[in-house]
């Protein structure tokens, strides 16, 4: 009885809206039969985005997008609101997953040559979605409204400031005025919560429409190049002969993978939680160590390691060039072999990018170029003297900032060379020359040390020799 009633309701809705039939047609569109686990990353990205939408809306119930109150509401969400800490964790690891999945999806599509004819625009819209995702990650970090957020905005504004002609103006648009202030956060809030999600929804819609229009690409076969003249017909034949309905033949993998991802995100949110809040967002607090979230850590390293002469060009034109190369890729190479086995350079490119980002990321985490402000004065056991010139020299080594950048016996900074055994490499005169004149990454100390101080410092350094066993 009930069943019959529900049936009739269903038929009525179907008739009046036409939606169930349409959705059914879309869900059961035919896909190539051997599209297996490699094909889950796109839907996993979408799934991560949905997590972001849901958790983001929930967070917005407590978040106040005001420069004076955002930080307090973040504290409230993190430490007082029931589930608040967990929710922030979900939003943070959801963002991380989205960045990761978008990267994997892109690598997979690139390796399988799926961006070729007729799917050029699938790729191009995907590149835009990658850009939106990264800007979302960046603006999300700002909405934490802590000290790190303030300096992240500043670093972004400084980069924009390097643009020719419009640089200063762009920088002020990012700051929301002449300085960081009341307007900065609200603007980023509007961008993060309304504008970018709007763009993402629109482009995800377009991206999915294109997937339906051109079909999911079949797994590439070596020796079977894409020829725009015949590709569509061949694809049609393949689909008609052996296509399987997307739901549920292929979709079950997406569901399983997506749920596994949600479980991992939830576990991470529970176990390690969202990043700790930093100090208050007071640009007048000088004691700061600005660092980006993990997905930009590698770029933090790029900015430290760019040769200064090239920097003013690369900061602006570098990312623009990368964006242009990515967008134009399918238009330049829209035919030919798809199989990665026939495109060794494609594998090489992906490997190189992964290696490069990983290496830069590790460097970013270590950030050896940053002075170590936490270096402790060298203990007597390392100095080897409690008075006399060696002792004085060791004190100067700490006082004059040498220890901030040089390491001795595992204490100090990593900017300059480790000086634990420096006397084995440099004579007294070589040391004096180096210290007095400095180098590209070392200040010149000629005007900063009296002759007696220089003497003590070098006497101390001359005792830094390899310890004989």
């Amino acid at each position: 009885m009930l069943k019959r009633f529900l049936h009739r309701v269903w038929d009525w809705v179907d008739d009046r809206t036409g939606l169930p039939a349409m959705i059914g047609r879309m869900a059961t569109h035919l896909v190539p039969p051997d599209a297996k686990w490699w094909y889950v990353f796109g839907s996993a990205t979408l799934c991560a985005f949905m997590i972001q939408v849901v958790t983001g809306i929930a967070l917005a119930f407590s978040y106040i997008p005001s420069a004076s109150e955002a930080y307090a509401t973040l504290h409230f969400i993190s430490s007082e609101a029931p589930f608040g800490h967990f929710l922030r964790g979900l939003h943070y690891y959801g963002a991380s997953a989205m960045v990761l999945m978008v990267g994997l999806h892109m690598a997979q599509v690139f390796l399988a040559g799926s961006y070729k004819f007729p799917r050029e625009l699938n790729w191009a819209t995907g590149v835009l979605l990658l850009a939106f995702t990264l800007v979302m990650g960046f603006t999300g970090q700002l909405l934490r409204g802590d000290q790190n957020a303030v300096w992240t905005v500043v670093v972004a504004a400084e980069q924009a400031g390097r643009a020719p002609f419009i640089g200063q103006w762009l920088a002020h648009v990012i700051l929301g005025g002449d300085t960081v202030g009341g307007a900065t956060l609200t603007r980023f809030f509007a961008i993060h919560v309304f504008i970018l999600p709007g763009f993402i929804f629109a482009f995800v819609g377009l991206h999915l429409w294109l997937v339906l229009r051109h079909g999911i690409s079949e797994p590439p076969k070596p020796g079977k190049p894409v020829d725009p003249k015949t590709y569509r017909r061949e694809y049609q034949e393949l689909i008609e002969k052996s296509g399987k309905p997307f739901w549920p033949d292929a979709a079950w993998r997406d569901v399983v993978f997506c749920v596994a991802m949600i479980v991992v995100i939830a576990l991470l949110a529970m176990v390690s939680g969202a990043p700790q809040l930093g100090k208050a967002p007071d640009p007048g607090i000088i004691d700061a160590t600005p660092r980006p979230d993990w997905y930009f850590m590698w770029y933090f390293a790029v900015l430290a390691l760019l040769p200064p002469e090239t920097e003013r060009y690369l900061i602006i034109y570098g990312p623009l060039l990368v964006g242009m190369v990515l967008i134009s890729l399918p238009f330049l190479f829209n035919r030919g072999e798809r199989s990665p086995r026939q495109r060794p350079w494609a594998i090489a490119v992906v490997l190189m990018i992964v290696l490069m980002i990983t290496t830069l990321w590790v460097e970013g985490v270590k950030s050896p170029w940053s002075p170590n402000f936490k270096a402790q004065p060298l203990p007597a056991s390392v100095v080897g003297a409690t008075n006399g010139p060696v002792f004085l020299g060791a004190q100067l080594f700490d006082d004059k900032g040498c220890l901030n950048c040089h390491m001795i016996a595992d204490d100090g900074g990593r900017r300059g060379p480790d000086l634990t055994e420096v006397a084995d490499r440099l004579s007294k005169n070589q040391m004096i020359l180096r210290i007095a004149n400095g180098a590209g990454n070392m200040p010149a100390y000629a005007a900063n040390l009296t002759p007696a101080q220089m003497d003590a410092l070098v006497t101390f350094l001359q005792t830094r020799k390899r310890q004989l066993p």
């Binding site: 109150e69 300096w151 500043v154 960081v180 202030g181 004691d287 430290a304 990454n441």
Partner: protein, 177 residues
Amino acid sequence: MNEPNPEPASTGCPASSAELSRRKFLARLSLAVGGLGAVIVTVPVVGFLLAPFFVRRQEVWRSVGKIESFKIGTTSAVNYEDPSPLPWAGVTAHTAAWLRRVNADTFIAFSINCTHLGCPVRWLPKANLFMCPCHGGVYYEDGTVAAGPPPLPLPRYPVRVKDGEVQIQTSPFPITK
């Protein structure tokens, strides 16, 4: 139960040339009127978003301490407020400078922001150096670059002594070109 819903009718009906030119006119009219509507809505929105960037703000002198509280030859951090902060700016309206007293009546106010990417540089009084926590920029006590990536010396803000008070003029955030 009901008769099936036919596809909605669209063009395809034959039309006379008078009808065609009428259609063309109506299409153009709709686009023009629609465009007008869009302009009416867009102009205030864009204006609202961009106007703040065309307002020249009034810089002001802010007292940062009595002259005798700064010893000759020292550099110390001073805090002051932006000229006209929004009511909800909270602590984000604060800003800081490194104030160096060169001699009895000469002061230099350095921006705390590294010219590389704007991070706040720290003053190491014993080493007589400014060091940046982000990418390893180092400056001498006079603000010139000692090491690392900064392309320019630390910017300076206008500073004066008035009625026994040291005053710094507020400035826009120094963005390196």
